[in-house]
């Protein structure tokens, strides 16, 4: 198979377009694709629709930069270091983005449905709550945003169990999935260590998938142990080698979260000005420069202890 290896600049410019529906891998402060997100910001891809699941500061940065039109969300926080991501919060309170609430279980099941090629998933979650009663994005507003399904869901009687209700949730049509994995090969075979979250599903469901990786491994070596691989190159369009590409979130087997960076982001994000100052400092032209700003010595303190699976004696307060 031919190599899909390219730079972040090439991958984002080729596969991410204004108005796209994108889904990002990881969970809150774990294995978020920050390196790829920074490149989306550099290129100013806008009017994005986010299939968010349980997200964190990476999506908050896209919102703060004014690049997001709508978000289907169940949770957005750098959990443990912020109660809620502050640029998201501000954008909701000021009516600057369209937002629709789900629960993470619903989004996970809908993404799995999308990966199975299903049009919708019938569930009972959300019944009896305001996730059922209140719609963040009206049917009218949805008409102006064709990347969103025309309705949040449809409530219907269960045809197999009379008298029981079901909530039919449309499976999203994701244009681009962006995930950060521990190991990938040039042809796009991916190996994820630790919890995989919903990365496999969004990578399969999306029309295009961009993978960034800690380590680039030869195809031949990956094929020696296929049972350890999770995503084949068939589902991957671009492979970008970005060591520390999930910083300041965690990456199992490699590094812990960066408490200092997460606290600083939360503090700066209190105002739009503070956020923009933060981005000015921490969004240099290349990832290599970003790592220089964070500093090798500091990064070394985040490396996980192989026995424990997390960084020993990390200052986490």
């Amino acid at each position: 198979m031919s190599s899909k290896l390219m730079t972040a600049e090439q991958a984002i410019s080729r596969f991410v377009h204004d108005g796209d529906c994108i889904a990002l891998g990881g969970f809150s402060t774990n294995r978020r694709a920050y390196g790829l997100v920074r490149e989306i910001i550099r290129q100013g891809k806008k009017d994005l629709v986010l299939e968010s699941g349980s997200s964190g500061g990476d999506e908050d940065m896209l919102i703060g930069m004014g690049l997001v039109k709508a978000i289907n969300v169940s949770y957005i926080a750098n959990a443990g270091y912020s109660m809620v991501c502050r640029r998201f919060r501000s954008a909701c309170e000021k009516n600057e983005i369209l937002f629709e609430d789900y629960s993470i279980d619903v989004q996970t099941i809908a993404y799995h449905g999308a990966a199975l090629g299903l049009p919708y998933v019938p569930i009972k979650n959300m019944l009896g709550s305001d996730l059922e009663a209140k719609w963040g994005i009206s049917e009218e507003q949805r008409k102006s945003c064709p990347k969103l399904p025309p309705v949040k869901f449809i409530i219907q009687d269960d045809p197999f169990h009379p008298g029981e209700k079901l909530c039919l949730v449309p499976c999203p049509e994701i244009d681009v999935a962006l995930i950060h994995v521990q190991q990938a090969s040039p042809e796009g075979i991916c190996r994820i260590s630790g919890t995989a979250f919903q990365d496999e599903d969004i990578a399969i469901a999306a029309k295009h998938t961009i993978v960034s990786c800690e380590e680039l491994i030869p195809d031949e070596e990956m094929r020696r142990e296929p049972d350890r691989n999770m995503i084949p190159g068939l589902c991957v369009d671009a492979v970008v080698h970005i060591p520390w590409g999930a910083h300041p979130s965690q990456c199992a087997g490699f590094y812990d979260y960066d408490p200092q960076a997460l606290k600083l982001y939360d503090e700066c994000g209190k105002t739009q000005e503070g956020f923009m100052d933060f981005m000015k400092k921490y969004l240099p032209a290349t990832h290599e420069e970003y790592l220089q700003i964070i500093g090798e010595e500091h990064l070394n303190t985040l490396k996980v202890d192989p026995e424990l699976g997390f960084a020993r004696a990390l200052q986490r307060k």
């Binding site: 990881g26 969970f27 809150s28 402060t29 774990n30 349980s54 969300v73 169940s74 949770y75 957005i76 926080a77 959990a79 443990g80 270091y81 109660m83 809620v84 991501c85 998201f88 919060r89 909701c92 309170e93 009516n95 609430d101 789900y102 629960s103 993470i104 279980d105 619903v106 996970t108 099941i109 799995h112 569930i123 009972k124 979650n125 959300m126 019944l127 009896g128 709550s129 305001d130 996730l131 209140k134 963040g136 029981e164 209700k165 630790g194 919890t195 995989a196 979250f197 919903q198 496999e200 599903d201 965690q250 199992a252 812990d256 979260y257 424990l308 699976g309 997390f310 986490r316 307060k317």
Partner: protein
């Protein structure tokens, strides 16, 4: 013996965990309560995390459900969809004894808001959202941790993220929810609250040093305060384990 209300709450939380049973652990204080239970009376309790970590044994206090620490000596790391399938099946098969939740507002029936304060479309305060809370409240019994303040204990929540007993004994069945699941207890700095036959919250245990007036002043709805017992103050050994073994970094207690 000196102790803080956070420590008292963590101990009350741990008592909701029974040895050999399975619990869903969310962020914050429940992480401490779960770890304390495993260090004391419930070494064989299983902890699940919505990220897909099954039977995790965090050796340090995790900061959140996605924390790498949760996966330490876990039995399996499932992709999320498998975990949520398991949680749904538990609605019928009782795999899970209870899940732990928190929120910004709660009403007398244990309905919880973790989405927004004020008008949903133009919120005064937008919060992080459901996370996995709605699904847990749909399928499992729950134990809820709250800051006990009048603006949080309200007659009606601004947004019902996670249904409790909805509006009374038949509230859940009417909405299509499993009728035999729902909130089991609410734990605050003042005590432990449970739900009566009318499915309204009542005071079940009063923490030492708390006056009934504290509860009246900080609760925005009528509550039955007539049938409580006094909770015991924490013993020295439990406090020692809590502060030196469970949370020596003092991240939460």
């Amino acid at each position: 013996m000196e102790y803080t209300s956070q420590q008292m709450m963590a101990i009350a939380l741990s008592k909701e965990i029974k040895d050999g049973k399975t619990y869903i652990i969310g962020t914050g204080l429940p992480l401490i309560g779960g770890a304390l239970a495993k260090h004391t009376h419930a070494p064989n309790a299983s902890l699940l995390f919505e990220t897909g970590v099954i039977e995790g044994n965090p050796p340090e206090v995790p900061k959140c459900v996605a924390d790498l620490r949760n996966a330490y000596r876990a039995s399996v790391l499932w992709p999320q969809y498998r975990y949520f399938g398991f949680q749904t099946l538990s609605g019928k098969r009782h795999y899970i004894d209870a899940g732990f939740l928190g929120g910004a507002q709660i009403d007398p029936y244990g309905n919880l808001n973790s989405t927004s304060v004020g008008d949903y479309h133009r919120p005064v305060t937008r919060l992080s959202g459901s996370g996995g809370a709605n699904g847990i409240a749909t399928w499992c019994d729950t134990v809820i941790v709250m800051k006990h303040e009048k603006r949080r204990f309200v007659e009606h929540v601004d947004y019902c993220t996670s249904p409790g007993w909805v509006d009374g004994p038949d509230g859940r069945a009417k909405r299509g929810l499993p009728a035999d699941r729902g909130p089991r207890a609410v734990i605050t700095r003042f005590g432990v609250f449970r739900f009566g036959e009318d499915k309204r919250m009542y005071l079940a245990e009063l923490f030492p040093g708390t006056k009934l007036e504290d509860i009246v002043e900080n609760t925005g709805f009528e509550m039955d305060l007539s049938r409580y017992v006094m909770a015991e103050a924490p013993d020295e050994e439990t406090l020692r384990i809590l502060t030196t073994e469970v949370d020596p970094e003092h991240l939460m207690v």
